[in-house]
Symmetry: none
Subunit: 205 residues, 2 copies
């Protein structure tokens, strides 16, 4: 993008936000009012520059006719839908169709790039210390390893639970963040695996 002044950028931002919110561009006079520009031509000067530098496009003789170049709002790229896992049926992979309760659409900004993601309904209050309540939906990024202290979705005996991950020499400690729960210790050979690490939380009140 070619360089623009602070003033021009402020006007551009206003137009962009206005369109995002109102789905329709402001009028020249609305922009003028906003920035204390008394003459419509003052605004048009700014628009002329913004257009010549490719920030906006003007549809001539059209009310509310300031448009943005296509790529400002990646249309469908804002949302991603992912499977919500209720409970995990014994012996099935997590993402097996029978475990998928529904699909959920979340904003792309919630997700790390290029990873497999799923959502898990949280049962129990073992993670209240981290602001995760029973009934919340946890967004999990699928991966097999984790760093010490991270919150992971752990698969123990075919059940998925959220816990803090504390590995030791020959065992793994899984700690709740609610002090009323004792840490769980998993030794080698037991049925345990990491389903993924916590990437987000969604709650419906």
């Amino acid at each position: 993008m070619r360089k623009i002044t602070e003033r021009q950028h402020a006007i551009y931002s206003y137009i962009k936000d206005f369109i995002l919110l109102r789905k329709c561009s402001p009028t020249i006079r609305e922009i003028g009012d906003k920035f204390g520009i008394k003459s419509t031509n003052g605004v048009r000067d700014a628009l002329r520059v913004l257009e010549s530098k490719g920030y906006i496009k003007k549809l001539s003789n059209q009310a509310r006719g300031i448009a943005l170049p296509q790529n400002v709002f990646p249309a469908s790229a804002e949302a991603v839908s992912l499977p919500l896992i209720g409970s995990i049926a014994a012996g099935t992979p997590i993402l097996a169709a029978e475990n998928v309760e529904q699909t959920l659409t979340v904003d792309k900004s919630m997700l790390p790039r290029s990873s497999e993601i799923f959502a898990l309904r949280v049962q129990g209050d073992s993670m209240v210390g981290d602001g995760i309540l029973s009934g919340d939906i946890a967004i999990i990024r699928m991966q097999k390893n984790a760093e010490r202290g991270q919150i992971i979705a752990a698969l123990i005996d075919g059940d998925a639970t959220l816990k803090h991950y504390y590995p030791a020499e020959n065992r793994i400690e899984l700690r709740a963040s609610n002090p009323k729960y004792m840490p769980i210790t998993v030794c080698e050979g037991e049925d345990f695996s990491i389903a993924g690490i916590l990437a987000g939380v969604i709650r419906k009140c």
Copy 2:
């Protein structure tokens, strides 16, 4: 939705598609051209009916001023995008364009039907007792009244904060859920209003 005729539905669909595609409503004359209605008033009849039945909203004396009720705008069938409010500039309405930090896409199931919704970035740890951490995004359903004990987004001196709502005879007590914060008492005449009530929480980890 109240019943409408095939003709009215065709016009409604055209408007909806137009807005989805162009981000901005068609003009009365554009609708007329499309359907071969030669008089602007023929179109206005149809719009009058659509508005009285709640399919559209008209902003009077505004170019391209046909609006759709809030949640007709799904980015996909299951998603709705809503404005994320960062901080609120003094003296501006909450949804003023300058307060909108970005837009956020959330699943339709997060939202109550037929209400105006916005998202608010949470600052501070005053609500940790309810699992709401600093940096979380609160989904707020706009409404002016609340029930005792509900979590509201309160506007005090132009700043929005989440608090539990406890009204009394001549004052209102706003309680945090973190015991280290004292309740705030607002008396009549002070600059206070309810922006809405908490409908959900989203956290990016």
